[in-house]
Amino acid sequence: MSSIWQAIESILIKNSLVTAFAFIGLVVGVSYVISHRVTQGRMHGSAIAILLGLLLAYIGGIVTGGTKGLADIECLAGIGIMGGSMLRDFAIVATAFGVRLDEFLKTGLSGVVSLLAGIFVSFAIGAVVAFAFGYRDAVSMTTIGGGAATYIVGPVTGTALGASSEVIALSVAAGLVKAILVMTMTPLVATWIGLNNPRSALIFGGLMGTTSGVAGGLAATDERLVPYGAMTATFYTGVGCLLGPSVIFFAIRAIVE
């Protein structure tokens, strides 16, 4: 019996990306059934699929003790390729197909405003929370502030400023919490924050900034909003890495020291 499973497993491992397509297809299928039968269509199938994905990632983390969720299980490693930045970016660009250029350019200014507001506000909140928890030096505050921006801005800022590895780990965790909350909460708050048109989606992407969070959150809300939110969000991490260790660090240092 176990030799049969070994034979199957070796095929699954060898064709990991194909395995991932089949597995994710199954997850999406189950999610749509839950959406129709259990929630009577009140909760969107893709929102359930993303929640289910996160739950499976949690289980994968417990089973393997790794950091890549379900992709750490050997025969499901293809999920890491399928959900990795290469195919994700490829698909995000494809969602822009059919959008008119002037729709992007019309809201360009609001996009820039939201981008800067999102970065400064996230850094400020992270720094204040760090201060409240007893991390009162400018380097640690800025690094954790970067984590409240995205889980890439945090460690990049921390490394540039020479923060301790404990603080850098905290900043990554803060960014992960943010990404997961944006993925899961966006469909729930969408009506309250007026997230139902290209303009607000563009602003949303700039304010949130976490590409994975925005990509997941908007997909679960309304697929048509994805290109607008993704457009501004893809500038966020780069600009955050630029401003974090420079302007924002100087500002925080001037305030606390």
Partner: protein, 169 residues
């Protein structure tokens, strides 16, 4: 400088698999209108790949110019490029149905890819990271959510003002 540029371009190309980069040539032929008689889906996918690679190279160069070891807006630039090129091709009637299909497939596979992305997140790390990380992440999300309607409003006021200024008296 030329050497540095080539190095960056090469890095961007080689960090993606060969099947993506090798299709660039076909896209170049497509956009010059030499292969329009062949209607196949790969032209659409190749166009998509070409746009993403160009965007990533430009994003990387912007990152180098401002001194950040990260891609600044590469995907966003790629989106603008795709919108501009596909819009031009459609306007001139050079975007056949199968070619469009080569792009639309990837757009339609977007949600499953996001599900796979969710399934490969370090959720355990986030959940067990301690109170500081959870509070910092959660407060940032709540405040930024609440700023969405605020900034939407600011922008609209500006739009209305600029509209009034241009209106003839």
């Amino acid at each position: 400088m030329g050497g540095a540029f080539r190095k960056i371009a090469w890095q961007a190309v080689t960090s993606y698999p060969c099947w993506v980069s090798s299709t660039i040539i076909k896209t170049a032929l497509l956009t010059t209108g030499k292969v329009t008689k062949n209607k196949v889906a790969i032209y659409g996918t190749a166009l998509l790949a070409f746009c993403l690679l160009c965007g990533l190279v430009v994003g990387k160069l912007i990152g180098m110019v401002v001194g950040v070891d990260d891609n600044v807006g590469g995907v966003g630039i790629a989106m603008l490029l795709l919108v501009a090129i596909s819009g031009h091709l459609q306007a001139t009637g050079r975007m056949s149905k199968p070619t469009q299909g080569g792009v639309l497939f990837w757009s339609s596979i977007y949600i499953p890819i996001v599900v796979a992305m969710a399934a490969s997140q370090n959720v355990l790390g986030a959940v067990s990271s301690g109170l500081l990380a959870i509070v910092a992440g959660a407060v940032a999300v709540v405040v930024c959510f609440s700023l969405v309607p605020v900034i939407s409003k600011i922008g609209q006021t500006v739009d209305i003002t600029s509209f009034d200024e241009t209106e003839p008296m």
